[in-house]
Symmetry: C2
Subunit: 692 residues, 2 copies
């Protein structure tokens, strides 16, 4: 197969993704947004979200331009035109930012339209919510492959050395990481400051539930779902997606001279393979989306599963044909013989590991299983035992995913060396288009429920949106497992790529400098999590004060005769998120640079440490948070222990609410931020590798 020609098919797949996203977005915006009141509430949310993203991007553009200039300057003396790494960086940032913007914009249209659709039935409501999510998913993969493949084509004309092409292109990943970092951390702080603030304000000024229109923080809470769970998650997966592609390209570059000897037309096959797989994955994701539907009275979960797992299944089969058609049947480096079939097995392992980690996550967080029921039971004796139980479940739940990940790593390496590890990450991420659609569907449904509540819709509407939302919680748990697993594999792929680029042959932990790097690296996720949680705590405190002020100063607010000043609360979340994201963000960027210039071996130890402890802390926090959340929900749906029934309003429920509130920043701020942290540090290392 002529690899040179195939590269042009890749941006074409990206364009198809964007076109289809455009069609879906138009369809969503054509749906009715219901009553004037509904439209007004939705407007508040959309305005808040857009305002936040605008202000966030205003700060980020300064950061992006500064780093771009630094990168250009630092690389200017190295190779001719290698300053172009700055251009890649800039493009990566722009693509990631645009994907987040598009996705969030459509999500804030889809929410109210889902509510309106739910007034007549479940089927259209699911369709609207999922379509909204799909726009996010397809924007991410579309912009990802277009950006990468176009840069690759351009750089291939400019540089003769494939190594230089790939080194320069790796800036794209750094751009994506930078945006992801701030989007995840900022979005995470925003959403949880609002959520925790709204919850606690409700508790402090009793009788004001979360989505009650009298609660001034309620709009901010709904805005948070969009900037955190939609835009933040999108940027996270954009980074993983791009990172795993680039990691594989770097490692594939080692095969170029060997392939060239075999057949000059396929010299870059191993480098291009990740892009091709990504392009195929886009088409599969679009096809999979056709299967997402639900009959009236049916279970939306089944529809989403058909789409997602169906796409994974098809991808598992198609990959075989793509890989065997594209790569030589076998080739040898040193005393290791690679075969295209074995590369396929590595991809398959990644895909399987992703699905398995998702299922394990679901087990620990589902309302039907022992862990969550155990937490619910421990709530009877109060908040303390609820917290101890949740922390215990979170820590325990790291066991199986780590075993799965370890087997995937060892297996993928057994089949196809470091290239195998990198491409297995890509295998896990190949159907990101639909995976992310399902993820983003969750907060859209959540918002839809909030809007139904605030606009006083009849109970059957809220019941329908609750049904959608309940599924969203499960998909969110699975999605988080996927995001963590792929982040770990991507970080490892980038780690291997770093070693190749920095010409580090071994990273021997019996060397104390490397051991120190390992310790410091492992410490970063703890400190980073602490910063994120501290930020949420402070911002939530401000929010509670503001809610109190409004209840004291606005006469008639408590009685529902006067309007709350929603915008003030939106403003508090916005400012807090922007202020608080900077320090942890800078830490993520600067630590690897400083350590790298001390010793490139120490940086290797740091990468191993941050990945290892990052993935553990991410699983721990994410699963503890998910389990607490559902333990509360489980009690709300009534549960019996030893002949006593516990329900909403019981002491056990109050204890469970404490757990849920603690879990909020765990699962939506600090936990997911660690995905970014480990990828970011690895990609910073990769980009600065030639300078060390």
């Amino acid at each position: 197969m002529n690899t040179e020609a195939v590269i042009y098919a890749v941006p074409a797949a990206g364009v198809i993704a964007l076109l289809y996203a455009f069609i879906k977005a138009s369809w969503v915006s054509k749906q009715s947004s219901g009553t004037t009141e509904m439209a007004e509430i939705a407007n508040h949310i959309a305005e808040g979200a857009t305002a936040f993203l605008k202000r966030e991007y205003q700060i980020l553009i300064i950061f992006v331009i500064s780093v771009a200039v630094l990168l250009a300057f630092a690389n200017s003396g190295r190779t001719d035109s290698s300053w172009l790494v700055a251009l890649s960086f800039f493009m990566g940032a722009i693509c990631s930012g645009s994907a987040g913007y598009i996705g969030m914009r459509v999500a804030t249209q889809a929410n109210v339209r889902t509510t309106h659709a739910a007034r007549t039935g479940l089927s259209t409501a699911l369709n609207v919510a999922f379509s909204g999510g799909l726009v996010m998913g397809l924007s991410v993969v579309g912009l990802g492959v277009i950006g990468l493949s176009v840069l690759f084509v351009i750089y291939s004309q400019l540089f003769t050395e494939i190594g230089t092409v790939i080194n320069v292109i790796s800036g794209f990943s750094l751009g994506a990481s930078s945006i992801a970092l701030f989007a995840r951390v900022g979005g995470g702080i925003y959403t949880k400051a609002a959520d925790v603030g709204a919850d606690l304000a409700g508790k402090v000024y009793e009788g004001i539930p979360e989505d009650d229109p009298r609660n001034p923080a309620t709009i901010a809470d709904n805005v948070g779902d969009n900037v955190g769970d939609v835009a933040g998650m999108g940027a996270d997966l954009f980074e993983s997606y791009v990172g795993s592609i680039i990691g594989t390209m770097v490692l594939g570059a080692a095969f170029v001279p060997i392939f060239a000897q075999m057949d000059s037309s396929l010299s870059t096959a191993a480098v291009l393979l990740p892009l091709i797989l990504a392009a195929v994955g886009i088409i599969v994701a679009i096809l999979g989306s056709f299967f997402v539907s639900v009959k009236e009275g049916g279970n939306p979960q089944a529809g989403l599963n058909t789409g997602e797992f169906g796409a994974s299944g098809v991808m598992a089969i198609l990959s075989y044909f793509v890989i065997t058609a594209f790569l030589p049947e076998s080739w040898t480096v040193g005393d290791f013989t690679y075969t295209s079939t074995n590369v396929y097995f590595a991809v398959l392992l990644g895909l399987a590991a992703g699905v398995l980690i998702g299922i394990i996550t679901e087990y620990y967080c589902s309302t039907h299983n022992k862990p969550v029921i155990g937490i619910a039971k421990q709530s009877i004796t109060g908040a303390a035992t609820n917290i101890i139980a949740g922390l215990g479940i979170g820590m325990f739940s790291t066991g199986l995913p780590i075993l799965v990940l370890s087997i995937a790593i060892v297996g993928a390496h057994h089949f196809a060396g470091l290239y195998g590890i990198a491409i297995s990450a890509l295998g896990m991420l190949s159907v990101t288009g639909i995976q992310l659609a399902v993820d983003a569907y969750g907060p859209i449904s959540d918002n839809a429920g909030g809007i139904a509540e605030m606009s006083g819709m009849p109970p059957e509407v809220r019941e329908r949106t609750d049904k959608l939302d309940a599924v969203g919680n499960t998909t969110a748990a699975i999605g988080k497992g996927f995001a963590i697993g792929s982040a770990a594999l991507t970080a490892l792929a980038l780690f291997a790529a770093y070693m190749q680029q920095a010409d580090v042959k071994t990273i021997d932990i019996s060397d104390p400098v490397i051991m120190a790097g390992l310790l410091i690296g492992a410490m970063l996720p703890f400190v980073f999590s602490a910063m994120a949680m501290g930020a949420v705590g402070r911002a939530a405190g401000d929010m509670i004060k503001e809610v109190g002020r409004q209840f004291n100063e606005i006469t008639g607010l408590r009685e529902g005769t006067a309007k709350a000043e929603y915008a003030k609360c939106v403003d508090i979340s916005t400012k807090a998120a922007l202020r608080e994201m900077l320090l942890p963000g800078l830490m993520g960027v600067l630590v690897p640079v400083i350590v790298g210039f001390i010793s490139k071996n120490m940086l290797g130890g740091l990468l191993a440490g941050v990945t290892t402890s990052g993935v553990l802390m991410a699983i721990f926090q994410s699963n503890a948070g998910g389990a607490w959340d559902n333990a509360k929900k489980r009690i709300e749906g009534k549960i019996e222990f030893d002949g006593v029934t516990y329900a909403k309003g019981s002491e056990a429920h109050k204890a469970a609410v404490v757990g849920d509130t603690v879990g909020d920043p765990f699962k939506d701020t600090s936990g997911p931020s660690l995905n970014i942290l480990m990828k970011l540090i690895a990609v910073v290392a990769l980009v600065i590798a030639p300078l060390l």
Copy 2:
């Protein structure tokens, strides 16, 4: 200097330690135990503690004999008489068990005698409590050096190869670790099941405070202080102490041929140096203990500090003369030149790192500093924000200790290679005798306060014991920091020793098998912590039920006219601790064996992973727990925010109690157990190294 002769001085120092401990123990037991009521309460506590230890040891003896037989069998075919590793193992277990037993026995006599002394003044009370602690401290170091030095002398007659001597002697450390594991985990579960159970039972059956004699769990709670904080902490430090000595001996063995060429009389100088330093440390600790005193109305902290830091200071000076007298001035291995002065600097670094980590720990846990005040402030908005703040502080507090540790590792290695790292651990532990005395003083004072409360002493008695106890909390925090720091360095020393014994040259984390080992190793502390916390949760639940049963069934208990059945609660804690310690214990022993037989390189990765994540999780949990505890105490001592005063009984206080309860298993069960886990896994690896 003739090293052969000096070895006989080592057991002599050990004998001095035991003699002095015996004198102190006799003095304590001669003190009056006060009123009949006091004596009766103290009897309950002592009986409960002895009963627990007896039953624990009954189980452990089976375990110890089984492992000894296995060890003898596995090593029988290797070298002539290398089955003796089983004897070392047995001796290590016996010495550790005896030290724990002696220490606890005296502690349970000292508690009530401290209460009685506090009836007349502070000075004698401090003296009694500290003397009780000193018996524990001196028993640990005395039995440690006697056991090791006697075995060394015997084995030196049997084996000509120093390598074999040391390999066989390393079983001693494994024996110590096995006992430590079960003592820490079992003791930790016991104490917190009782503590959490007593606290929550008080909450559930309102109006029954912790040390109220009507609370049936109150004796179990006081027993727990002895079996957990005295016997458990003693076994922990016994293990670190012995482990760091053996780690240094293993690495020192590499110098034997070089030293022999220089001067045959000092061939084993580097091997014996750790024992000599330990012996000197014993004498210094005894001298330091003379300076522990307090004037009436003075601050006991000052007296304890003089003793402890004074001893550290003297040791820092004496070490210089010992090391330069004992080691050759300089010697060269490969292209690395060692000097005795540089070895001294490594010791000094360890000592300094220990003190620094202690000070940092104190900063994060002290009632006077920002972290604890911050948690107190977050308690105003409820339990959830209190928990979030505490978790945040715990995670954040890992930063500085890890930096200190990293600098110590790199620095010690810079000065004296791997030998330097090992001996720096010993530097940190050289004054364990007094360090542990100060640690054990804490729970004795705590018990004394409990006895004062239960026996209805006048308020000034409780005030005096509270004063002693408050200091105990600070020393406990510092002691925990020390224990973690020394555990980490010891684990690294054992890790280096393992590599030498298993003939593993490098542990390259870019090898996926090693990376998998690293991930799995890093996961163990999470799963282990979860198991420990789950055990506490379950046992506390049983305790709460039993307390409820007694209040329902025993008429007059609530009114104080009938006696509670304390023994039932003691029995619940005992059974739960013994039942629940087995699974995590076996995991700690079996995982390294299984992984080691899969691949000795993977085991290397596992060791690095468990040490790295173990030290982080230990610091996180220990400091979060300490900070929560003191935030509660801070509110109890009244605190003002924004013009509002919060005190005992306020909503903020209730929230702080939740944090304190969550922190209990964190700081006293799962956190400290990780110290053992990392050392145990490393020492298992070291012992099985010749078989791999």
